[in-house]
């Protein structure tokens, strides 16, 4: 798999795609604003926040239904970025979340529209 800026899928003649990384950060709702501010400061090109309904981790389980306080609820922040930026971003994100509950995963994706990232 190619991580450089050459088209990732040599077998497809029609539309070029580029290899990037996707971060999935599951984080408590009250911390979300801090995380987004951090991502802004790190100048990632973009991110998208998806709500979570329920979950379980080492700290027990939670359900969104009916909770009147944001405490204990989670959101999923998706951030697609260039591989070269991953360490710069992971490090401070890890630091921010170190005392919080939550999960960070990194995976490989291809994108069209390279100018976006």
């Amino acid at each position: 798999m190619t991580h450089d800026e050459t088209p990732a899928a040599a077998g497809r003649p029609r539309l070029e795609t580029y290899a990037k990384k996707r971060l999935d950060i599951i984080v408590e709702a009250p911390i979300m604003n801090r995380l987004l501010d951090l991502l802004d400061r790190l100048a990632v090109t973009g991110y998208t926040v998806v709500p979570a309904l329920a979950g379980r981790g080492r700290e027990g389980s939670w359900r969104r239904a009916g909770l009147v306080s944001d405490a204990g609820q989670m959101v999923l922040v998706i951030c697609v970025l260039d591989e070269s930026r991953v360490p710069d971003v992971l490090e401070p994100v890890y630091k921010l979340l170190s005392r919080q509950i939550g999960v960070v995963t990194v995976s490989d994706v291809s994108v069209i529209r390279r100018e976006h990232f």
């Binding site: 408590e28 009250p30 911390i31 801090r34 700290e59 027990g60 389980s61 359900r63 969104r64 239904a65 009916g66 909770l67 009147v68 306080s69 944001d70 405490a71 204990g72 630091k95 921010l96 170190s98 005392r99 919080q100 509950i101």
Partner: protein, 329 residues
Amino acid sequence: MLDLVLANLTSPIVLFFALGLAAALARSDLAVPEAVAKALALYLMMAIGFKGGASVAGHGVDARLIGAVVAGALLSFSIPWIAFQILQRTTRLPKLDAAAVAAHYGSISIVTFVAASESVRLSGLVAEGYLVAVAAVMEAPAILTALWLAQSARKAAGRGADGDDAEPQGALLREILLNGSIVLLAGAFLIGWITGDRGLEIVSPFLVAPFQGVLCLFLLDMGLVAGRGLRSGWRELKGPVLAFGLYMPLVGASLAALVSLPLGLSAGGTALLITLAASASYIAVPAAMRLALPEARPAIYLTLSLGVTFPFNLTLGIPLYIALAEALP
């Protein structure tokens, strides 16, 4: 007082709470969507604040109001310190968990306040409208005390004044004081105060008339949340911690009763001040704790506040506090 307890236990509000609790414990899939639960909470804050403000507009500001507000702030600052000492002596909770729990008991539960207002009214008493302002003022100070307790604990454990990765204190304070529920309660109070009876008349078919019915729906939801919390958080609550959830309200109540002596409040107003001191937060404080003391476990403080203390206050506590207020000279 038995009459009052019984009337309280068979009020629709308490029964809907019990229905929610039972449904959750029986694992029914009955659920209030999150967005709706949040809307109900907004509605309650808006209604309580507005009515309180409008009533202050009617009666004007006087020394008593100021006295009550100052007393409330003092209670909110000091109760966490007492709670923390008790927890340290009677339970094995880690210091940060103890500080977080303590914050909840220094702050207030606005729904307990509302339920007490109804009971006060049913008992034929009248309460000062500005107690809503007292409630708003009591939300936050407890958090500050808890942060100070936690910091001392961290220092004692040699972990610096919060770690270099933490948010600066100023930013944290802003986040806590600008919590949505505090802003809305205080803002609606101000608007009620500015617009007075004229404003109240305009919003009354929305904020006053259906209020108690909406409260029933909200309590159904709180019962569901409390029941789910109890089901999963039960094993965290060892004997002494559980007991704390039942006697700490009485400690807070006694303190408030003492403090209220020189304030010159009506019996109804005193009952409400006592209730505020006895109640434990489950909206503003948990959110603040996730930001400020993330190591403290929500399973403990939320279950204790919402699953133990709230039902206790709703059923037995409120009649007791009213009786106490009536017994005071």
